[in-house]
């Protein structure tokens, strides 16, 4: 972009203090890193890395929802996929699911673990196979994992569909016969048919209309109460995240810059980026004129992120120190973590 070519640093540092398993957390993510190599030259040599996830640390309590917000390209989706071991090997860090390191287990064990962790994808128009009837889409994995005896299979699928607001006669139809909201219900049914404990919801409502959004959000909340599910809710719609989550993490360029209880984060945002992000939410009330912090420029390239604090190029409170020294995660209030030099004692 700037016109000058610098040789990027190809070394990958992977130093972190391992965490010990704590019973109350279903998922513990510690200094998780995921880099994608950039290949170049004649022999496809690795010439750099896109640092999609660059040191993300958080814990997720059983039966709660954590919202993950941030601009597009900040690594929200990659975080979700890396936790589920869906995008190859991780680059560094730990992912403990029920105390078990997800990346250390054999493919066979991984297979049975897959039923415990599921994902709902963003776009219900491209994540459903157009050639399979709905009953088959929902039931395929159930049959594959032998979760229910053969003679109960049909009843089981009917029941799952009923839970997600689908009619039994929908079973023989194909995805193109459904509207966006109903397709998203099919995606939810597909994930829940395996009786998971943990579901990554990757922008499940972004592609839907406002009135349909409300239906899907209510459905997700109902199902959470019924089956004691844990969600990682990825979204860029902050009002939806505030509504559904118990805790919120804010991501910027591969880093989790702030995370804590939803109430703390929304009442008292600490990181300059969080403040700017929240001030940008449009309020449906014409009498309110907000003091908006408009961020200059756009998100820098994750292949060549700024030195020091990654946000310093757009930060209003940038200090000299921010340009050289990367801040570390710090607990400012109980359960409220922020990564910023402003809060160093």
């Amino acid at each position: 972009m700037a016109g000058k070519t610098t040789t990027p640093d190809l070394t990958i540092t992977n130093d972190f203090t391992p965490v010990t398993y704590d019973e109350q957390y279903i998922l513990m993510v510690n200094a998780l890193k995921k880099y994608f190599p950039i290949k170049g030259g004649l022999v496809s040599k690795t010439v750099g890395y896109v640092k999609a996830v660059d040191g993300v640390t958080f814990n997720l309590k059983r039966g709660t929802t954590m919202g993950l917000v941030g601009e597009s390209g900040c690594g929200k989706t990659t975080t979700g996929r890396t936790i589920l071991r869906l995008s190859g090997e991780k680059t560094g860090g730990q992912v403990l699911f029920n105390g078990q390191e997800v990346y250390d287990i054999s493919p066979k064990e991984m297979r049975s673990l897959r039923t415990k962790m599921q994902i709902i994808f963003q776009d219900p128009f491209s994540s459903l196979s157009p050639r399979l009837p709905v009953g088959e889409i929902i039931g395929e994995a159930v049959r594959e994992h032998n979760l229910v005896p053969k003679h109960e299979f049909n009843d089981y699928i009917d029941q799952v569909m009923d839970n997600c607001g689908l009619q039994p006669f929908h079973k023989d139809r194909y995805p193109h016969e459904f509207s966006g909201g109903q397709r998203q219900r099919i995606c939810i049914a597909r994930a829940l048919a395996l009786n998971p404990e943990f579901v990554v919801c990757d922008e499940p409502v972004s592609a839907l209309d406002v009135s349909i959004q409300a239906q899907i959000i209510n459905l997700l909340k109902e199902l959470q109460e019924k089956y004691k599910l844990t969600y990682l809710f990825i979204s860029h719609d902050l009002s939806v995240v505030e509504h559904i989550s118990d805790s919120v993490g804010v991501m910027y360029l591969g880093n989790l810059v702030e995370y804590g209880e939803t109430r703390d984060i929304f009442k008292n945002p600490l990181h300059p980026y969080t403040k700017a992000l929240f001030s940008a939410i449009p309020v449906p009330d014409p009498t309110v004129r907000m003091n908006r912090i408009v961020l200059e420029g756009s998100i820098p390239s994750p292949a060549n992120p700024p030195s020091g604090c990654k946000f310093h190029t757009r930060c209003a409170n940038c200090m000299e120190r921010c340009k050289h020294e990367a801040p570390v995660q710090r607990e400012v209030e109980p359960g409220h973590y922020v990564v910023c030099h402003l809060y160093d004692q």
Binding site: E71, N218, V283
Partner: protein, 384 residues
Amino acid sequence: MAKKQDNGYLSAKESRRISKENRRITNQYEKARKRKNVPESEYLTQMKDPANAVEFENLHTYFFTDAGTVKSVDGVSFEVPIGKTVGVVGESGCGKSVTSLSLMQLLQRPQGQIVEGAIRLNLGDKAYDITKTPNSVMQTLRGNYISMIFQEPMTALNPVFRIGDQVDEVIELHDGAGKTKQDIKARTIELLEMVGIANSEGVYSMFPHELSGGMRQRVMIAMALACNPRIIIADEPTTALDVTIQAQVLDLLRNLKNRINSSIMFITHDLGVIAEMADYVVVMYAGRVIEKGTAEEIFAHPAHPYTIGLMASKPVVGKEVDKLYSIPGKVPNPINMPNYCYFKDRCEMCVEGCAGAYPEEISLSPTHKVSCYRYYDKQEGGDK
């Protein structure tokens, strides 16, 4: 209406009949549109109120498809005053975009046709009726008087031409008389700077894929503003963007509108954006305007059950609710609309009158109008 077989599918014979009938109808419209040397008097008209930039009156835009006629816009009337922003809200498929495309004459033809009504465009000293304006004249109106910012900045720019060439083309076609290549390039760079692109010389020679979503949307806005149009139609300009970029783009649009004193017709389904941008709000449902008024009226006293439901179903930051309200049911099939109020089947506030014909527009105040039986006894003045 099209006869249906028991299984819900049309027979091949029936489909052929509809298709033939459609061709007969659309050919008539196309013939009228393609005439050459149409005298100006035919499409010259008078604005109802000279303070309006555009007036839609009883606009009907139909799509003649092989499965039947889709009444996408079915009797829409509203005004866009000069220098104001009018927000059009509604769910997908409610006819928001088709209304704006009718104004631009960019409907998918020959299937899509304006069958009735008038769109009056104020050109300052005279006014044109867009529905009767022939293609050749439309060319001079588009870009110069009305221009459009499209929804998807990713697909609206041509990937094989450089940004500079694409903006240059707009200026050359619409405003290029007597200008040299250098003049046009200078104007393009000026425009790119105006929309807040810092590295304007560099962006001039870039391809669309080298820019981020927000930057592409800025380029789209620069193209739309190239000839200082009187009306800017912004069709969901921020839907594909992040909140921080959305805030930048909204700020930009607001400032630019004031600078060139034009009107904006802002189409979106995000009520928050509407509240921020719009002076007037038009709420559409299934091809009809169900409620319109100033932004304060609509947000403080929403009258139509659909508007109320729409507002309740959106989570608001800082407001805690246990369960979001969701409007039951779904939008009626556009090919086979009921003959009573289109919202009746989903409405939880029905009154006795609802079984009757589609409700007329009731004035709650000089600017606030609603189509709902609940307000028949409350209307102001009682002139209707």
